[in-house]
C-alpha cells in the first residue's frame, strides 16, 4: 500500500516536471517495458487533468501542470476530452437518474428520452420497463401476502394456546367441584377475607372479579408457553392487592411427562427470584398442569420469566407474566 502510494507520488512528480534526469529516465524505461505501468501512468495523468478541470488542484500545482503537461496541442486535446466527458456524462447521469453530486438541471424530458422517444429501441425499453414494473408489483404482492400469512399463523397459534388454557381451567373447575365444591380463584370459607386478589385468565388485560363476590388471598394465573422464542410477546398480567398472600401459577405443558419438575422464576432482566423443585404435574386433556405458588412479598411491579425444567435441569418450556401491585 505504502509502495503503491510512493509510486503514485513519483508518477505525479514526473508530470509536474519535478524528477531528476535519472529518475525520469528510470520511469520512462519502466513504462516502455511494463504495459500495466504505462496504463497506470495514463490513469494518473487523466486524474490530474480531472483535478485541474474540477479546480481541485492548488494554484501552484495547477500552474506546474500547465507548464509541464498542457503545453502541446496534443495535451490540450486531452483537456478538451476531460471537459467534454464531465459536461456530457453529468447530463447522462441526470438523464438516467443516477445520483450525481453536481447540481442537477431540471428538464421537461431527459436527454436520452428526447433523443429516443419514437424509436424501436425506445419501444423495447418501454416494454422492458413495463415488464419489470409488473414483476416488481407481483414480488411486492407476494411479499405482502406472506406477511399476512405469517400474522394469521401467529394469531392461530395464540388462539390454540388460549383454547388449551380454557380446557385446563374447565378441568380444574371440574376437579375442584368434585373435591370441595370450590372454584379456583374464588375463596372458600376458610379463605374468606377482604382480599382483593384478581385473576386474569381471560385476556391480557387485568380484569376484576364480579362485585359482591369475596376474593381469595391467593391469586391464580394460568400460563401457556411463550409462542415466540424471543419472548417479545406481551406477558400475561395479574393485579395483586396488598392482602394477597401468594400468586398461584398454573403452567400448561404439552411435552412428555416427567416424575417431577423444576421452575425457575427470573425477572425480565435475568435476576433469579426463586427456584421451586419437586413439582408434580396433573394431566388435563392433552396437557399437563404444573402448579406452584410464589409468595406475593417476593413480587414487585415488573415482568417475569418462568422456565420449566425437568428434574435433570433441561429446559422444557418458558412462560412470561407481569405483576401489577395495587
Amino acid at each position: 500500500m505504502e509502495q503503491e502510494r510512493r509510486t503514485d507520488q513519483l508518477i505525479t512528480k514526473y508530470f509536474f516536471g519535478e524528477l531528476s534526469d535519472e529518475e525520469r529516465r528510470q520511469l520512462e524505461d519502466r513504462y516502455f517495458t511494463d504495459s500495466e505501468f504505462l496504463e497506470r501512468m495514463q490513469a494518473i495523468e487523466a486524474e490530474l487533468i480531472e483535478d485541474y478541470v474540477g479546480g481541485a488542484l492548488p494554484k501552484e500545482a495547477a500552474a506546474k501542470l500547465e507548464t509541464h503537461m498542457l503545453q502541446s496541442p496534443h495535451q490540450r486535446r486531452k483537456l478538451a476530452f476531460t471537459e467534454s466527458v464531465f459536461r456530457v456524462a453529468t447530463k447522462q447521469a441526470d438523464a438516467i437518474g443516477l445520483p450525481a453530486e453536481t447540481k442537477r438541471k431540471s428538464r421537461a424530458l431527459p436527454l436520452i428520452l428526447r433523443r429516443n422517444i419514437f424509436t424501436p429501441a425506445a419501444a423495447a425499453v418501454a416494454a422492458l420497463v413495463i415488464t419489470v414494473a409488473f414483476a416488481a408489483w407481483v414480488i411486492f404482492d407476494v411479499s405482502r401476502l406472506r406477511r399476512e400469512l405469517g400474522m394469521l399463523q401467529k394469531e392461530q397459534a395464540a388462539a390454540r394456546s388460549r383454547e388449551q388454557e380454557l380446557q385446563a381451567v374447565i378441568v380444574q373447575l371440574q376437579e375442584s367441584k368434585k373435591t370441595n365444591g370450590n372454584i379456583p380463584g374464588v375463596p372458600n370459607d376458610s379463605q374468606k377475607s377482604n382480599s382483593n386478589d384478581e385473576t386474569n385468565a381471560q385476556d391480557h388485560k387485568p380484569s376484576q372479579l364480579p362485585p359482591g363476590k369475596s376474593e381469595a388471598n391467593i391469586a391464580t394465573l394460568v400460563l401457556s408457553p411463550s409462542v415466540l422464542r424471543s419472548g417479545q410477546e406481551l406477558p400475561k398480567q395479574v393485579q395483586i392487592s396488598g392482602n394477597t398472600r401468594a400468586l398461584q401459577l398454573q403452567l400448561l405443558y404439552d411435552g412428555a411427562s416427567a416424575s417431577n419438575y423444576q421452575a425457575v422464576v427470573e425477572t425480565a432482566d435475568g435476576d433469579e427470584l426463586l427456584v421451586k423443585t419437586n413439582l408434580k404435574a396433573k394431566r388435563a386433556g392433552n396437557n399437563q398442569i404444573v402448579t406452584l405458588e410464589i409468595p406475593s412479598n417476593l413480587l414487585t411491579n415488573r415482568a417475569y420469566v418462568l422456565t420449566l425444567r425437568s428434574s435433570s435441569g433441561a429446559d422444557l418450556s418458558r412462560y412470561s407474566f407481569a405483576v401489577t401491585k395495587k
Binding site: 495523468e45 486524474e47 503545453q71 476530452f81 466527458v85 464531465f86 456524462a89
Partner: protein, 233 residues
C-alpha cells in the same frame, strides 16, 4: 502511381532529338515524372518490407507482434506527449521507422523496448534542436501562445460537435461502463470521496477502479477519434 516508361531505341531517341528541342524537352519531363513515381513505389515497398521485418522481429506470431507494436507505438506517443513534443504521433512514427530500417539492415537488438526509448530520446533531441535552429526561444514561445490562444476558440466553435460525438460514444458503451463513467464524472471524478464511494459500491479496490475508468476513457477516445474524423485525442 505512374505507368512503366516506354523503352526507346537509340534510333528513336535520335529521331526525337532531330525532330526539335521541344520534343526532347517533353520526353525528359515525362521520364522525370516516371522516375519520381517509381521512387515513391520503391520507398513504400521498402517501408512495407521494413515493417514486416520489424513485426517478424517482434514476434513470429503476427497477431502477437501487432499487439507488441501497438504497445510500442502507444508508449512512444505518450513519451513524446509527456515530453512536450509538438507532434507526438509524427515523432512516434519517425522513431518506429528508424527502428524498422535498422532491423531490416540487420542490426541485432536485445531488448526492442529499451532500444526504442533510446532512439526516441534522440528523435526528441533532434526536434528540440530543429526548433532551436529554426526559431528563437521567444518565437517558439509565441508559437505556443498562438496555438494555446487559438485552441480554446477552435474548441468553443467545435464544442457542440465534440459533445454530440461524446454523447453518441457514451451511448455505445456497455450499460455498466456507461453508468460507471457517468457516476464517476457526474459525481466529480476528481473527488477522492467519490472515487472511494464508487469503488466501495462496485466492490473493487481504488486501483481496479482506476484501471477500469482508464479503459473506458480509452474506448471513448477511440470512438471520438472516429466520430470527429480528425486528429488524435
Amino acid at each position: 502511381m505512374g505507368t512503366t516508361p516506354e523503352i526507346l531505341t537509340r534510333e528513336e531517341i535520335r529521331s526525337i532529338y532531330e525532330s526539335g528541342p521541344e520534343e526532347v524537352f517533353t520526353l525528359v519531363k515525362r521520364l522525370q515524372s516516371e522516375i519520381i513515381a517509381l521512387s515513391e513505389r520503391v520507398a513504400k515497398l521498402e517501408t512495407r518490407v521494413s515493417f514486416d521485418n520489424f513485426l517478424l522481429y517482434l514476434d513470429s506470431d503476427r497477431e502477437r507482434a501487432g499487439e507488441r507494436y501497438s504497445r510500442l507505438q502507444q508508449s512512444l506517443i505518450n513519451f513524446f506527449a509527456w515530453r512536450n513534443s509538438l507532434d507526438p504521433e509524427s515523432r512516434a512514427a519517425e522513431t518506429l521507422d528508424i527502428l524498422s530500417k535498422q532491423i531490416t539492415e540487420g542490426r541485432q537488438i536485445d531488448n526492442v523496448e529499451t532500444y526504442c526509448i533510446g532512439v526516441a530520446r534522440n528523435v526528441l533531441l533532434k526536434e528540440h534542436s530543429r526548433a532551436a535552429n529554426q526559431v528563437s526561444l521567444d518565437e517558439l514561445q509565441s508559437d505556443y501562445d498562438l496555438r494555446l490562444s487559438v485552441q480554446p476558440i477552435d474548441l468553443e466553435v467545435n464544442q457542440r460537435r465534440y459533445d454530440e460525438c461524446m454523447t453518441a460514444c457514451l451511448q455505445q458503451l456497455p450499460e455498466t461502463d456507461r453508468n460507471l463513467i457517468s457516476m464517476y464524472a457526474g459525481g466529480g471524478g476528481h473527488d477522492k470521496d467519490n472515487r472511494e464511494k464508487l469503488a466501495r459500491e462496485a466492490g473493487i479496490t481504488l486501483q481496479v477502479l482506476r484501471v477500469r475508468i482508464n479503459r473506458i476513457r480509452g474506448v471513448l477516445k477511440e470512438c471520438l477519434r472516429k466520430c470527429l474524423k480528425k486528429g488524435d485525442l
